[in-house]
Amino acid sequence: MVSQDELDLIERLKRGEESAFRSLVEQYQDLVYNTALGIVQNESDAEDVAQEVFIQVFRSIGTFKSEAKLSTWIYRITTTRALDLLRARKSKKRFGLLKRLWETEEESPVENISDFNHPGVSLERKEEAAQLITAIAQLPENQKVAFVLHKLEGLSYLEIAEVMGNTLPAVESLMHRARLNLRKILEKKISAP
């Protein structure tokens, strides 16, 4: 159920009011950034994605029908943009192999393979959290999105289903498979000599 405040904000955004846009950004910037960060696992990229999300919201607010909540729509745009970035990164990597044939050793950049540290994790859990986040990066896209939305954003399975355009049983299945896969990945890593 969409609140009256939200309906007012949407109306003001559709009228192009800058104050409404600023209000929107301030309200949702951390939500967008945190979600993007969980998926792309790089602060600079996550900020870039977050900017693209708000630009897209600004452009497409005119077509937004208030059937779903604004947050659901924004989560959807965020996860889509973040996944787009991951795909682009993968294809750049593939092309980079070809480019490296022509580069000297000094020119080719060293790949950063260290675990990503989420800034919201307490100090005593940093090491384990970094291992988990690295494992999340290896999940298939749908499982990754569901797990990040649940663990980092605290969304319920029903809310995740609304964001992903899935049914509740489908999300339950995704989460179950995500956990199984994460266990496998972590067991392999922890058992390795």
Binding site: V25, D30, Y33, Q51, L98, G120, R125, A129, L152, E153
Partner: protein, 112 residues
Amino acid sequence: MKQDVTQQVEKVLSSLDQVNRASVSPYFYSSLRRRMEAGNAQPQHGFSLQPAYTILALLFLFVTNVYLLLNQPVTQEQKSTEVEEQTQWKTEYALQEVTPYQENPIEWVAIK
């Protein structure tokens, strides 16, 4: 030993419980506005046809084509067809090995 691994895995799986939400930098909004005003609202990421990559791709295609053209294998059938064509051409234009002039050379006598 296996129990230790299982315990450790469970510990890692629960390491993101009660994690705090990460926050953007304090300059996020101003940075966003600058970007929008600059009209640079194109996606920063995604496949882009940068000139260097385009040239590289075209060069690769060119080299591959040249290599394939120069190294086309000539089959036995193609060779015999070529020989036949040459023979036919010689006959048509009467290009024999030895000309009548060569068979009966005229001896030019110096006119004194």
